[in-house]
């Protein structure tokens, strides 16, 4: 299961990602850590990250990697959150790389997997 503290689940089934922000370094990060991974500062605040992003890098995984039992192929990539300028490694709802482009707008969605895990994706 996904460790507690990464994702916030709402009553309507929607989710939000929980990140960290260090005022002294001015940097956001995800998942939230006790120590800012850029500066080592320990003044990390809990922040609910924004949902709007753009596609920054993308591919499709065509064979199940070790330990993964979900569907293949699946979209995989890095999105950049528009507000925080934070880049996040993520599943992508689109599994055909030809349908995606650099800078394409995407939004955070809940992504239930067959094994009962609900993770996040961008679509």
């Amino acid at each position: 299961m996904i460790p507690e503290g990464l994702v916030e689940t709402h009553a309507d089934g929607s989710i939000a990602l929980i990140g960290g922000y260090s005022p002294t370094s001015g940097q956001f990060h995800f998942p939230r850590l006790d120590t800012c991974p850029y500066s080592g500062a320990t003044d990390v605040e809990r922040v609910v990250l924004s949902r709007d992003a753009t596609v920054w890098a993308w591919t499709a995984v065509t064979a199940a990697p070790p330990g993964y039992e979900g569907p293949v192929p699946y979209g995989f990539g890095i999105v950049e959150l528009t507000k925080e300028r934070l880049r996040i490694v993520t599943r992508l709802r689109e599994a055909d790389p030809k349908q995606l482009a650099f800078g394409q707008p995407v939004q955070l969605v809940a992504d239930p997997l067959p094994n009962g895990i609900v993770t996040w994706a961008f679509a």
Binding site: T59, G67, F76, G77, I117
Partner: protein, 367 residues
């Protein structure tokens, strides 16, 4: 100037798949060959690179040769394990602690996509631990930012596989065409199957000593990623722009050039990390061999001098042994006995590995 460290002997067990042959068997083969070349010296310490070998891998090899008693230290630094072992050995000789040190690496990689304890189970379960997918994202970024194309990736594979034909220790010894590379199945776009190296099995060994008249180990330097570096070899979950963060390969290269007293332009022959074809092209830039986007010129003008062994694309990648395998190739190149793979007049060679951790090592040998 401190103590000069020379390479007294090298040995290698072929890289490939060898059912029924153990890490110990392969290590014994490589160590015996290296010690024989060096005139069977008594060494005072041994460092063994391995990532998946398990507890006391080095002890097992030297135990099988009745050569225990000296300190034996296993070294794990991912793909850079061999380079890390060399740095420790060379440093101990330069410090005057030892006169002769044995360095070797052994590995039997599991088949298929590399499974790594680097990733927590939940990342595996959610499909975020797909190693070739990270390679693909890095490749896509390189193509976009350096103005390169898939054809350049295919060109790297064609070049390295052509070199591999002449390497009896390589796993793949058949030439391929660019059309064949681009026709192999897509693993993670833009990477096709033949653009990815195969994790496999093998061993390599290097005997270092103070002074001597062999090839000089001018530098062996290891670096890790700087904090916040995200989109290079380190794969934490998220990060901001890493454009301004110097990657570990560049850090290691700068240290190595400085220690060896050479510049990138002085390097005659290069063995660099071609885990995937894009990784090799990125290395050209990270190692200071060319400007961003200038990789096609290097491919055209210096093809024979880059990964003359066939690279990991021909040899396969046994993590603990791969970096030392590169050094074995460079030593043959500098001795002038590399046969059909010989880069004429090679006097300075650079070996580069980079991998999970993130770790990067650069080794420079000269004569």
């Amino acid at each position: 100037m401190g103590v000069r460290v020379s390479v007294a002997g090298v040995g290698i067990h072929p890289f490939g798949r060898f059912d029924g042959v153990t890490n110990t068997d392969m290590g014994v083969h490589a160590v015996r060959a290296a010690l024989a070349e060096a005139g069977d010296p008594s060494f005072q310490a041994a460092f063994c690179g391995t990532a998946y070998g398990g507890v006391a891998s080095g002890h097992k090899v030297l135990g099988a040769l009745a050569l225990t008693g000296v300190p034996i230290v296993d070294v794990e630094a991912g793909c850079a394990s061999g380079g890390a072992a060399l740095q420790l050995a060379a440093g101990a000789i330069r410090a005057g602690q030892y006169d002769c040190v044995l360095v070797f690496g052994v590995e039997k990689m599991p088949k298929g996509i590399i499974r790594s304890s680097f990733f927590e189970p939940w990342r595996e379960e959610t499909g975020l631990a797909a190693t070739p997918a990270y390679f693909a994202l890095r490749a896509q970024r390189l193509l976009r930012e350096h103005g390169l194309t898939k054809d350049h990736l295919a060109e790297v594979v064609v070049k390295n596989r052509k070199h591999g034909v002449h390497n009896p220790n390589a796993m793949f010894r058949k030439e391929v065409t660019a059309d064949e590379v681009l026709a192999s199945r897509v693993v993670c776009d833009p990477l096709h199957l033949w653009m990815l190296c195969s994790p496999n099995e093998g061993a390599a060994a290097v005997v270092l000593r103070a002074g001597g008249d062999g090839v000089t180990l001018a530098s062996a330097r290891l670096r890790s990623h700087l904090p916040g570096s995200v989109l290079g070899e380190a794969t934490p979950l998220a990060g901001i722009d890493d454009t301004e963060i110097v990657p570990p390969s560049t850090l290691a290269a700068r240290d190595a050039y400085e220690e060896a007293g050479v510049a990138p332009g002085d390097i005659d022959v290069v063995e660099c990390q071609d885990t995937d074809a894009a990784r090799e092209l990125l290395a050209y830039h990270e190692l200071g061999l060319c400007d961003p986007g200038d990789q096609p010129r290097l491919l055209a003008e210096r093809a024979a001098a880059i990964n003359p062994s066939g690279g990991l694309l021909s040899k396969g990648e046994p993590l603990g042994a791969s970096g030392l395998g590169q050094v074995v190739e460079l030593v043959h190149q500098l001795r002038g006995d590399a046969g059909a793979r010989q880069v004429l007049g090679a006097r300075a060679g650079l070996a580069h590995t980079v991998g999970r951790g993130a770790n990067a090592s650069c080794v420079i040998v000269t004569r």
